[in-house]
Symmetry: D3
């Protein structure tokens, strides 16, 4: 029954990495809470770095500066 | 005042079907809870099948196998 | 597979009304999008009126004034 | 620590306006609740007007009529 | 039309502070994006510190240590 | 930067189990996506079984029947 929602910045995860995240997060809920994997949903939301802010600035700006 | 958020896999609903979902979900809240439709928001979030997991696997893989 | 999340102000729905909302919202997705009801999740989130704002004011204040 | 999620219709905000929203929402939480900006996340979710309904109709239809 | 959702740890905001957050967040969207305040929803979700984790530990533990 | 939100039915997890879920979910994102644990948030939302529906019925009814 659990629903897991993972929000990450777009571009930080490949398709293979997302599969690993889905697999391992399901395992956590099966092993720790005894849930039925058939009803464990894991949803990944990839957010543009223009649309994610920290310290009052977008990740586009923060990460751009860091790589600058 | 109610907010309804519907998450579906991308590709399972046409524009017309989404209109029907918006219309009927609004009706449910107006008829069952007496809410003012002017302030009933219905948001539909379409999630890529790479980004939706069940049984520890992505829908891309699960549905691909089923159609395989 | 769909997940429906309904946010309403705390106090506007009885247990019976919430059952009707769960039943009818599931019907909408089964009838309009052909989804399997076994995997349709409907979650209701009841929000305190201190914690819900519209027009820059809490519902506690807005509704209090209306009934005043 | 706070997380702010802003849902807006796609197309109503430019990149510069989104930066202003991120900056000012962070300021609100720093000034009103004394939170550390380093851990204030602001996420903006832009929703297609086909996928946002009010009064039982999509914004595409409502706004199309208004401009018609 | 915008919906703002603010998640904060339970206990960090008084009723008055929440009113200020609702007011000012509405102002940001009215002033920066020209939205109609009548349709700006601001929802505050207060999360128990047992249910909020950072660095792999709950805030109850992290903050308990800091005050220890 | 990632935010993980875990929705579970109220009552299925003890405080210790929630700590394990927070710890292990953080590890998944650190190990699979190389994220900095300092900025990985894990939020657990415990939903009343009256407020969670599957197959058009509340978990209170479904689980009550199962244990009946």
């Amino acid at each position: 029954m659990p629903i897991v929602r993972v929000e990450i910045a777009r571009g930080v995860a490949s398709v293979e990495q997302k599969k690993a995240v889905i697999r391992r997060m399901t395992e956590v809920l099966v092993e720790e809470l005894g849930r039925d994997p058939d009803y464990v949903f894991v949803l990944i939301d990839e957010v543009d770095t223009d649309n994610w802010g920290r310290k009052g600035r977008s990740l586009t700006d923060l990460w751009g500066e860091r790589e600058g």
